[in-house]
């Protein structure tokens, strides 16, 4: 028996406006998901590529300034083609594009895992515990409910895709000590941020739709994994059997993640980066051929010296040890073809990006349709 029983007391505090009701759902979702240590580990590990990107952009800024600070680290740049080393500013947009491209490529993989972890029980558990009437009998609309749930996924994806992009970009600009970097690379920032938001929106809607299809969160997680991994595998297997029949590789639109990659290529304009790198490699090839035939006084020594580069960019710019005659010309040609093909696969897709955009748009619309039928309003017979 309490010593002093207050009984019921009236409350006279202030209430927030209706417009921000969705945020209460998002906030609660974030609180709940952050109690899961796997989610926390994944978010922290997703920041490792972001740190690498930021460090790379900082070093690139120092390289542009030919800073003395960079001297101990010059060995990291020995593998770069000579034209880039001589005038890095001219290749700023290209290198930044490729750096952000790689970063986002990695983060999409992380995002898929993160969505699987945080999204699978967002609606399925509400259906299981019949929580929908509790939400809808509060001063909120169904749209607020969906926005709140979508906000949970979007917040996590923004934390691993948009926030790191903004921070890395800021660091890159700060280390470049050159205001022209903003007009040069502003488009990359815009594209990367838009891409992060697009991934959050599409993945969020699709996951919410899947989550509304079952009361079993594990089943939802399996459906998501199926969409992500199995669609990729099907695309690959179809591609391996039809590779020589259609140069446009239309089967790639079967893969959910490939569609995301294709839209990223369009937003970051990686095709332009590819063209510039292709020109560079062609020049290097010509120089090597000329040297091999004795036309260049400096011979192949004018090409970048051999090194052991690491990291995702290494394969692109891996320098070749100067070969000896007589197989010289053939080997130079074949390596240039190989490099160009790798670059093309990475940065350019042969079919229009609008196909992928249409696939993603269709998936989003279908998801909205599923959500509106699965999470019904209370305007129905009991």
């Amino acid at each position: 028996m309490p010593i002093f029983d207050q009984g019921y007391q009236h409350w006279t505090g202030r209430l927030a406006s209706h417009g921000a009701r969705w945020w209460a759902i998002t906030r609660q979702g974030l609180r709940t998901q952050l109690r899961n240590r796997h989610t926390k580990y994944l978010v922290v590990s997703a920041w490792v590529p972001a740190l690498i990107l930021a460090a790379f952009l900082a070093l690139w800024g120092l390289l542009e300034q030919k800073s003395a600070v960079l001297e101990p680290f010059m060995f990291l740049f020995q593998w770069l083609p000579e034209p880039i080393k001589q005038g890095p500013k001219a290749y700023r947009t290209t290198i930044w594009t490729i750096a952000f491209h790689w970063f986002l490529w990695i983060e999409v993989g992380v995002a898929m895992l993160l969505v699987l972890l945080v999204g699978s029980d967002l609606i399925s558990q509400d259906l299981r515990f019949n929580a929908i009437p509790l939400y809808l009998s509060r001063p909120m609309r169904r749209l607020d409910y969906f926005a709140g749930k979508l906000g949970v996924i979007a917040a996590f994806l923004a934390a691993v895709m948009v926030v790191p992009v903004l921070l890395a970009y800021t660091i890159g600009v700060a280390f470049s000590l050159d205001l022209t970097v903003i007009p040069d690379t502003g488009r990359i920032l815009l594209g990367a941020v838009l891409y992060g938001l697009l991934v959050a929106l599409v993945c969020g809607l699709v996951m919410l739709a899947l989550s509304s299809l079952s009361r079993n969160s594990r089943l939802v997680a399996m459906m998501w994994a199926g969409l992500w991994l199995i669609s990729g595998m099907i695309s690959q297997s179809v591609g391996s059997s039809l590779r020589h029949q259609d140069q446009r590789r239309p089967w790639e639109i079967i893969s959910f993640t490939h569609n995301l990659h294709r839209v990223r290529q369009a937003l970051l304009d990686t095709e332009a980066a590819h063209r510039q790198l292709q020109d560079l490699l062609t020049q290097a090839q010509k120089a090597a051929e000329a040297a091999a035939s004795g036309e260049l006084p400096g011979g192949l020594s004018s090409l970048p010296p051999p090194s052991q580069p690491r990291g995702p960019l290494a394969r692109l710019f891996r320098p070749r040890r100067p070969p000896t005659h007589p197989e010289l010309t053939q080997r130079i040609r074949s390596s240039a073809v190989e490099q160009n093909e790798t670059l093309r696969n990475l940065l350019v897709s042969p079919y229009p990006w609008t196909w992928s955009a249409a696939v993603l748009g269709g998936l989003s619309l279908a998801s909205i349709g599923v959500l509106s039928t699965r999470v019904r309003s209370l305007d129905r017979l009991k």
Binding site: Y8, W11, T12, A16, L134, P139
Partner: protein, 314 residues
């Protein structure tokens, strides 16, 4: 007025859930009675602005149910009949979350959640997962979640379903307290007439989506002109015998007599019988109908065609 509905009609395909429902109820504790399929849930959802009505209009606490649904739900608290929970939360988080969904700040919500959990008697279980609560505890939890933002109107849909007698009594006591001591209006939907009678001042009876009866419970329980309760000082059996000889139907109770006057006889015959038996009458008052009788009478009236019902208000 607490709420007013005017010519409200709602159909779901071929099913008419509400049929030209017109009702106006004052503030206070209102019981909502009706058999299954009477339209009680549809009416509650209409009041909360959760459904789009086909025809008619209505106001709750002066707010238009068609245009100010969010404001209506802001001013009302709702305890649904079904078992429904926010998953994975302990009691205090559950109630605080309900408060946040109504627009309370997180700090206010958690503070208020502790207060209302104390009020509903869940203070000991506030840090337990809501899924592990018993049926009665879940009902209390839903009540706490409904009153966390201090609504002006509390809607309880079958709140005592599945509760043990003691828990039911406690919940009814809370509902009574909120309605009569805390100034909160109540709409109490239940099949259990004693529950409604214990809590409410007013009642409305629905049947087939129509209003069959409404008004103050005391007024609805009409005084009978032919049936009376009689208390005597001693020897009730002597009076019973004298009344029977006079042709009056008598039911001998433990400490009183129930009697029914046949046509042609009046109370004068009762007094004469008492004088003959030499019994002193201490009290003689007309019997009043029970709420159950009111309810059954209303349903009987409602089972006729709508044109046969002269006036829904009994």
């Amino acid at each position: 007025m607490l709420f007013e509905l005017e010519d409200v009609t709602k159909t779901y395909g071929k099913v008419t859930a509400l049929s030209s429902l017109t009702v106006a109820m004052p503030t206070g504790a209102i019981g909502l009675l009706g058999p299954n399929g009477a339209g009680k849930t549809t009416m509650i959802r209409t009041l909360l602005g959760l459904i789009r009505i086909d025809r008619g209009r209505g106001r709750v606490l002066g707010l238009d149910i068609a245009r100010q649904q969010l404001d209506v739900r802001q001013a009302a608290g709702f305890v649904p009949e079904d078992e429904c929970l926010f998953p994975g939360m302990v009691g205090v988080d559950f109630v605080a979350y309900a408060g946040e969904l109504c627009g309370m700040g997180p700090r206010d919500a958690i503070q208020r959640a502790h207060e209302v959990l104390d009020y509903v008697g869940l203070s000991e279980a506030r840090y337990r997962k809501a899924e592990t609560y018993s049926t009665g505890m879940k009902q209390r939890l839903k009540l706490a979640a409904a009153i966390v933002h201090d609504p002006k109107l509390l809607i309880l849909d079958e709140p005592t379903n599945g509760m043990d007698p003691q828990g039911r009594e406690e919940l009814l006591a809370m509902a009574r307290d909120l309605a009569h001591a805390k100034g909160m209006s109540l709409l109490f939907s239940s099949h259990l007439l004693p529950d409604v009678e214990a809590v409410c001042d007013y009642v409305m009876v629905l049947g087939g989506g129509r209003l069959l009866a409404s008004g103050r419970i005391d007024d609805l329980k009409q005084a009978s002109e032919r049936q009376f309760d009689v208390r005597v000082k001693r020897h009730p059996e002597q009076l019973a015998s004298a009344l029977a000889q006079a042709g009056i139907l008598v039911h001998l109770g433990e400490d009183s007599l129930g009697l029914e006057l046949p046509p042609g006889l009046s109370l004068t015959h009762v007094w004469q019988a008492a004088r003959r038996a030499g019994v002193q009458i201490r009290s003689l008052r007309p019997q009043r109908s029970t709420l159950e009788q009111v309810f059954l009478e209303a349903l009987k009236l409602g089972s006729r065609s709508p044109r046969d019902v002269p006036d829904a208000n009994l």
